[in-house]
């Protein structure tokens, strides 16, 4: 029996073609054509992404393979996934999940004033010893605490943690984002902003962001797991 030179396997995004690396490219094209002719009833007019494995294909060769597939079946190839890109994505996801688990509990400190144009990104919760000025941004997968005046933009729970919170000694943020929710400051003269508000905390509930003075009751409702 002839050895299989072309194997089709499905993946999350579409199909992966396992190609024999020892036969000539012309032969391979013929086999691809045969394979897809045989399975065209199965695929019908599916739209999918394509990935190659087992053999290095140049750009021209990839295009030829795609043309062969499309002329022998009604499959529509939307894009070609680089082998590495695919792997990278899987790895990234796995990594992200692991990190998410600990991002709220762990924390780090940053000392200094964050000025316009500066972005502070953190995989964990972060405590800023200083002010966050308008135009500056803090992005954290966990919570953000500002021991100073918060006048810039904060994104807490950036990886999707809705239990993340933002606290500041003086709360006048331009924008607060927690997970996928966004709240912006009230409109008004710039000069009127920046007056002392006292310590406040912002959190989400049902997709809305609330800002309140820090009291025992509010602290009791905050989760840090």
């Amino acid at each position: 029996m002839k050895q299989q030179t072309v194997v089709i396997k499905s993946n999350k995004y579409g199909i992966t073609l396992f190609l024999d690396k020892d036969i000539s490219f012309r032969e391979l094209l013929g086999d691809v054509a045969e394979k897809f002719k045989a399975s065209s009833a199965f695929f019908k007019d599916a739209k999918m992404a394509l990935a190659f494995e087992g053999r290095y294909l140049s750009r021209e060769e990839q295009i030829q393979v795609i043309q062969t597939i499309q002329s022998n079946s009604s499959v529509e190839i939307l894009c070609v996934l680089e082998q590495d890109a695919l792997k990278e994505e899987y790895m990234k996801k796995a990594l992200e999940e692991r990190k998410n688990a600990s991002s709220s509990e762990d924390g780090r400190f940053y000392k200094g004033t964050l000025r316009s144009g500066q972005v502070l990104e953190s995989e964990t919760s972060i405590i800023v010893l200083g002010d966050v000025n308008p135009g500056a941004t803090v992005v954290s997968k966990g919570n953000v605490v500002v021991l100073g005046s918060l006048k810039g933009t904060i994104h807490a729970g950036a990886a999707g943690n809705e239990h993340a919170f933002v606290a500041a000694l003086n709360m006048n943020p331009m924008q607060i984002r927690i997970a996928d929710s966004i709240a912006r400051s009230a409109d008004g003269p710039l000069a009127a902003k920046g007056n002392g508000t006292g310590p406040m905390i912002a959190y989400t509930e049902d997709g809305n962001i609330y800002m309140e003075p820090i009291t025992k009751e509010v602290i009791n409702d905050i989760r840090v797991d």
Partner: protein, 261 residues
């Protein structure tokens, strides 16, 4: 048909951003569909002057890099529903965008807007090149000072070399009392040096400072500067409007309009 106008000056601090905000708002007041693009990447200001800073989620660089669609980055003005702002990025620099990308972006916006105003950064480097790449016409802002005029002259030369068909002059921060006492160049002097048409003169008005700090452009209100900007908008649309009398009379702003030519 849409028109792409770049507001530029060469020198910093002469009022490009204030002019962009006021002219844009004025055109929107005249029922035109307008988008303002802040091309000053890394030192954005237009959103602050427009009072829209707190609404920024995506910016010019995000659009160009394909992180979002144009529609997602456009911020609708809080006063006029036919006025939009495309803010600049604060965390990047001018090299994040190329002139080709600007042309492509503006071609897309042309389909929807009557006027596309580009707020140009100071200087003549990459940011300036990005801003003028897709422009049909230019508004040159200058103040009646030799340094600003020298830079404006250089800019006019560069615009001519880049085949911008039409350039008009805005003389900003005129103080008629100083002109009369001979301590400041008059509009006529400036026009004579630069040899391009003047589309408007804006007086040095404290209302500009107030309106800028409040994030509310003053165009169209009763202040002298507000009226001067409104007239500029009318002239941009092709209307013949006589120039304002910028003299301050007895502590009140003169209400008489008359030709000063």
């Amino acid at each position: 048909m849409s028109e792409v106008i770049v507001i530029t000056s060469g020198k910093g601090g002469v009022g490009k951003t204030t002019t962009t905000a006021n002219v844009g708002t004025g055109l929107a007041k005249l029922n035109q569909k307008v988008v303002l693009i802040d091309t000053d990447i890394g030192l954005r200001n237009l959103d602050v002057v427009m009072g829209l800073e707190n609404r920024i989620v995506y910016n010019l660089v995000d659009v160009v890099e394909g992180n979002c669609r144009i529609k997602q980055a456009l911020i609708k003005d809080k006063r006029y529903p036919n006025l939009y702002l495309l803010p600049s990025a604060q965390t990047r620099d001018k090299t994040a965008v190329t002139p080709e990308q600007m042309i492509k972006l503006i071609d897309e916006l042309k389909e929807e807007f009557d006027y596309i105003l580009l707020d140009c950064p100071a200087g003549i480097e990459q940011g300036f090149k990005n801003a003028i790449a897709a422009a049909d016409r230019a508004l040159i802002v200058t103040t009646p000072e030799v340094s600003a005029i020298r830079d404006a002259d250089r800019i006019i030369g560069l615009l001519e070399a880049n085949e911008i068909k039409r350039t008009d002059l805005i003389v900003n921060r005129i103080r008629m009392d100083m002109v009369e006492s001979g301590n400041m160049m008059s509009m006529d002097d400036v026009v004579e040096i630069l040899a391009i048409d003047m589309i408007g003169a804006v007086p040095d008005d404290e209302n500009i400072v107030i309106s800028t700090n409040q994030g509310e452009p003053c165009v169209g209100d009763d202040s002298l500067a507000g009226r001067a900007f409104m007239n500029i908008c009318r002239r941009i649309m092709g209307e013949e409007v006589p120039f304002l009398d910028l003299k301050i009379k007895g502590g009140f702003f003169g209400k008489l309009k008359r030709l000063f030519r």
